[in-house]
C-alpha cells in the first residue's frame, strides 16, 4: 500500500481538484501562499481558511486527513505562539522578568500561527490531490522554458522520478540489511546514543555500495533503451490544459486581488 503512494501523502479519489492539471494546482498553491504573506488582518485569514475548507470538500479528502497535516507541527505552532506573544515590542499587559506579554505580541502571534497553519494546509491539499509523479511532470513542463538557459530540466525531472521509483526498493533493502546485521548480533532496538551511532556504518556502507551498483546498472539500461541526453523526448500523457483548468486559473486570478482588497477593507473598517 505504502509503496503505491510513494511518500504516503497522496489520497486517491475522483474529484475536480484531482483531475486538474498539476501546473494549475502548483500555481494555485503558490498564489495562495504568497497572498498569505501579504495579508495583514487576522480576520482575513479566516476567509482563506473557509476557501481552503471548501476546496478540501470538493476534493473529497476526509477531514481527518486535514488534521493529520497539522499534527506534525502542533509543537512548532505552540512555540511560535508563545515566543511571539512574549517577546515582541509594545506595552506590556503582564510581565515576569524577561517575559513581556503585549497586545501587539498577541496579535502578531495569532497572525503568524494562522499563516503557518494555512500554508501547511494548502501544501497538504496539493500533495493529497497530486501524485509525486504528476508534480514532477508539472514542474518539468512549467520550467521547460528554462531549457533555453541550458538548465537540464528534463534530466532533473528524470532524476526525481527515478528517486521516487527507488524509494520502496531501498526501503525493502534497508529492512533486509537490518535483519542481516541483526542476525550477526547487532541490536537495533536498545542501547545509548554512542552505541546507536556505531551501528550506522553497518547499514549505511552496504546501502551506499548498493546504490552505486544500482546506478551503474540503471545507467547502462537507460542507455540501452535509448536515453541519449538529447532532448527530443515526448510524453505518453502530455499535460494539456482543459476547460476546468481555464476556469481554475480565472478563479485564481480573481481570488488574489479580491482577498487583498477584502483584507484592506476589514483593516479599514476595524
Amino acid at each position: 500500500m505504502i509503496a503505491d503512494l510513494a511518500i504516503g501523502r497522496y489520497y486517491a479519489a475522483e474529484s475536480s481538484v484531482h483531475s486538474l492539471d498539476p501546473r494549475t494546482k502548483l500555481t494555485a498553491a503558490l498564489v495562495f501562499i504568497v497572498t498569505l504573506f501579504l495579508i495583514r488582518d487576522s480576520l482575513t485569514y479566516l476567509l482563506c481558511l473557509a476557501a481552503l475548507l471548501l476546496l478540501y470538500r470538493i476534493s473529497h479528502v476526509p477531514f481527518r486527513y486535514l488534521m493529520r497535516g497539522m499534527r506534525g507541527i502542533v509543537l512548532l505552532l505552540l512555540f511560535t505562539l508563545i515566543f511571539r506573544a512574549f517577546f515582541s515590542p509594545g506595552d506590556p499587559i503582564w510581565s515576569w522578568g524577561l517575559l513581556k506579554l503585549t497586545q501587539n505580541g498577541i496579535n502578531l502571534a495569532i497572525r503568524l500561527v494562522l499563516r503557518i497553519s494555512l500554508m501547511i494546509l494548502g501544501a497538504s491539499l496539493l500533495s493529497y490531490t497530486t501524485t509525486p509523479r504528476q508534480l514532477a511532470n508539472g514542474m518539468e513542463q512549467a520550467l521547460s522554458g528554462l531549457k533555453r538557459f541550458h538548465v537540464p530540466v528534463d534530466d532533473i525531472a528524470l532524476t526525481v522520478t527515478i528517486a521516487f521509483r527507488f524509494i520502496p526498493v531501498l526501503n525493502e533493502e534497508i529492512g533486509i540489511l537490518m535483519d542481516a546485521q541483526a542476525a550477526r548480533g547487532v541490536d537495533f532496538q536498545h542501547g545509548k546514543l554512542p552505541e546507536k551511532l556505531r551501528r550506522i556504518p553497518s547499514l549505511v556502507i552496504p546501502l551506499f555500495v548498493s546504490v552505486l551498483r544500482r546506478s551503474a546498472d540503471l545507467a547502462t539500461a537507460m542507455e540501452a533503451r535509448g536515453y541519449s541526453g538529447e532532448n527530443s523526448c515526448t510524453k505518453m500523457y502530455p499535460l494539456l490544459y482543459r476547460q476546468a483548468d481555464r476556469i481554475a486559473y480565472l478563479l485564481i486570478l480573481v481570488y488574489a486581488p479580491a482577498i487583498l482588497l477584502i483584507d484592506r477593507g476589514i483593516a479599514a473598517l476595524l
Binding site: R133, T161, R165, P168, A221, A224, G226, T234, M236
Partner: protein, 295 residues
C-alpha cells in the same frame, strides 16, 4: 542479421595488491552469425565472455579488434549507434535495476518517449506490449508490487514496445525462481514464434537451451561449440569439461547408455526420456537382443 568477425575485446584489470594494470582478454577472436528470426542460446561458465559478447550487440561496448555488423551496420561507426539500438533491444539480469518508471505503463513507455514517438502512438504501443507480456491489468501498479518474473516481463515489454528486430537478454532468469523462469521462457518463445523476433539468450541454465534453434557455448572468450541443441548436447564429455550443468534426464540417459542401453542422444526433457525408455523397453520385451540405436 548479426555478423561478427574476429571480435576481440580486452579490458584493464587492476590487481588487488597494487601494481601495473593488466590487460585481460574477454573475447579472443569470436566469429558468429545469427539469422533473422532465430532463437539462439549462448551458454558458458562465468568468465567465458558471454556477457561481454552480449554488450557488443547493442553497442554498449565497441570492439578492440574485429567487427560487429548489426543489420548491415558496423557498430564501430558512431553515427550508426542509435539506428543499431533501435534494431537491438537488451534486457538485463537484475529486474529492479532496469525499471525506471514509477508505474508499469510509464516504464514501458520510456523507450518510446526517448525516441520522440507521438503520444497517441506511445499509448497504443504500450497497450499492445503490456498485452503481449501479460501485464495489461497491472498498468497503474508501482513496479515494487510486481513479482520478479513480472518485473522481467515488464522489462521485456519496454524493449518490445520499440519494435526491435532482435532482443538480447543477459541472464534474465538468474535472479528468478523456477516458476518465474518458466514464465519468462514461455514469453520469449512466444515472441520468437509469433512476432518473428530474433532472440539471443545468454544463460547458464542448460535447460533453457532445450527449445532453442541454436546453441552456442563459449569458453575463455571463444566459441567452443555451435550447433543445434541435439548436436551440442550429444557431446556430454565436452559439456562436462565446460562445467555446464546437464539436466538430470540427460545424465541418466547417458549413464544408462554406458551400461549398454541404447538411449539415443541427446535426451533433454522428461518426455523424451520416457519415450526413449519405452522404446527400449518394448524392444527388449519383444525379446530382441539387439536393440537398434536410434540414429
Amino acid at each position: 542479421m548479426i555478423h561478427i568477425s574476429g571480435l576481440v575485446h580486452k579490458f584493464r584489470e587492476y590487481p588487488p595488491d597494487g601494481g601495473e594494470a593488466v590487460y585481460k582478454t574477454a573475447l579472443d577472436g569470436v566469429n558468429l552469425d545469427v539469422e533473422d528470426g532465430q532463437f539462439v542460446v549462448i551458454l558458458g561458465p562465468n568468465g567465458s565472455g558471454k556477457s561481454t559478447l552480449a554488450r557488443h550487440l547493442n553497442v554498449l561496448l565497441k570492439p578492440d579488434e574485429g567487427t560487429v555488423w548489426i543489420d548491415g551496420r558496423n557498430t564501430a561507426v558512431e553515427e550508426e549507434l542509435w539506428k543499431i539500438r533501435d534494431c537491438v533491444g537488451m534486457v538485463f539480469q537484475n529486474p529492479d535495476n532496469q525499471i525506471i518508471g514509477t508505474t508499469v505503463e510509464e516504464d514501458c513507455a520510456f523507450g518510446l518517449e526517448m525516441r520522440g514517438v507521438k503520444p497517441a502512438q506511445i499509448r497504443a504501443r504500450v497497450e499492445e506490449s503490456l498485452l503481449t507480456v501479460g501485464l495489461p491489468d497491472k498498468r497503474q501498479f508501482s513496479p515494487s508490487r510486481l513479482s520478479g518474473g513480472e518485473k522481467q516481463r515488464l522489462a521485456i515489454a519496454g524493449v518490445v514496445a520499440c519494435r526491435p528486430r532482435c532482443v538480447v537478454l543477459d541472464e534474465p532468469t538468474a535472479m528468478l525462481d523456477p516458476h518465474a523462469r518458466a514464465e519468462v521462457m514461455e514469453l520469449l518463445h512466444r515472441l520468437n514464434l509469433e512476432n518473428q523476433m530474433t532472440v539471443v539468450l545468454i544463460t547458464h541454465h542448460m535447460v533453457e537451451a532445450v527449445g532453442a534453434r541454436r546453441v552456442i557455448i563459449m569458453e575463455h572468450g571463444r566459441v567452443a561449440m555451435d550447433g543445434s541443441p541435439e548436436a551440442v548436447f550429444s557431446d556430454l564429455e565436452r559439456l562436462q569439461t565446460l562445467h555446464l550443468e546437464v539436466p538430470q534426464v540427460t545424465a541418466a540417459a547417458e549413464q544408462l547408455r554406458a551400461r549398454g542401453f541404447p538411449f539415443s542422444r541427446p535426451v533433454l526433457t522428461e518426455k523424451q526420456f520416457a519415450e526413449e525408455f519405452l522404446r527400449i523397453y518394448e524392444h527388449r520385451a519383444r525379446g530382441e537382443e539387439h536393440v537398434p540405436h536410434r540414429s
